[in-house]
């Protein structure tokens, strides 16, 4: 499973095609892309802070947990940090397996753990001020199903 932590933008489509080409034998590929939303219409940018060193270790651990739990043909985690504009990609995961249910479950597992166990913090900058995005109880709760 490949893990990348980067400030540079990426193209989910290119990543998906490259990932799919590298997992021969898979019958099912699932991807998730997270995008900077601007619900209020006032978001200037989103700043993502992370913990260099621990971030890579945490994502690798999450990836290994997924691989131990399911028989995957492959997996990919990309997560950006730094300053992002509304509409930009924040992160992406992709999973490949023989059958669809495994690919879906593993992708949701990666996302659930990434949300609450990888050391990233988001700050929204708007015209009226900055605010750290608060963790949601529902994100922590969603770990209970695994």
């Amino acid at each position: 499973m490949e893990v990348r932590v980067q400030s540079a933008p990426f193209r989910p489509g290119e990543e998906l095609d490259a990932f799919t080409a590298a997992v021969p034998g898979a019958g099912a590929v699932v991807s998730f892309t997270g995008i900077v939303r601007d619900d209020s219409g006032t978001l200037a940018e989103m700043v993502i802070e992370h913990y260099p060193g621990m971030t890579e270790a945490a994502l690798t651990q999450i990836a290994e947990d997924a691989q131990a739990r399911w028989s995957l043909s492959g997996g990919l985690i990309i997560h950006r940090f730094g300053v992002l504009a509304p509409g930009e990609q924040i992160m992406m995961v992709a999973t490949a397996a023989r059958h669809r249910q495994v690919a879906f479950e593993a992708a949701e597992f990666l996302m659930d753990y990434l949300k609450s166990r990888a050391p990233f913090w988001k700050k929204e900058r708007t015209a009226t001020g900055d605010a750290w995005v608060a963790a949601k109880d529902s994100d922590e709760a969603s770990l209970d199903r695994w």
């Binding site: 990434l114 609450s116 166990r117 990233f120 913090w121 750290w132 608060a134």
Partner: protein
């Protein structure tokens, strides 16, 4: 000597991302107590421990974790990745 790191609003409240701390604290909680005594900005950052998470040597840990042999402790709010 332990490297102490702060992230997100913990970093902002304390006003720095990282510092080396000379401490005889036995546990993370002891270290927090020492830091709280220093200045109001530390007291503000560590006001509500339930709003904080801690990593010891880059692994998520608990406030009662021992500090023996530890090189790096980080304090931050709950993570918001993804």
């Amino acid at each position: 000597m332990i490297d102490v790191l702060y992230f997100a609003w913990v970093r902002e409240r304390i006003g720095l991302p990282k510092e080396r701390v000379e401490t005889g604290a036995q546990t993370v909680a002891d270290l927090v107590e020492e830091l709280r005594q220093r200045e109001a900005r530390y007291a503000a950052a560590f006001e509500d421990l339930s709003a904080l998470r801690v990593a010891v040597d880059q692994e998520l840990s608990d406030f009662d974790a021992p500090l023996s042999g530890v090189r790096e402790v980080a304090f931050f709010p709950p993570m918001t990745g993804g």
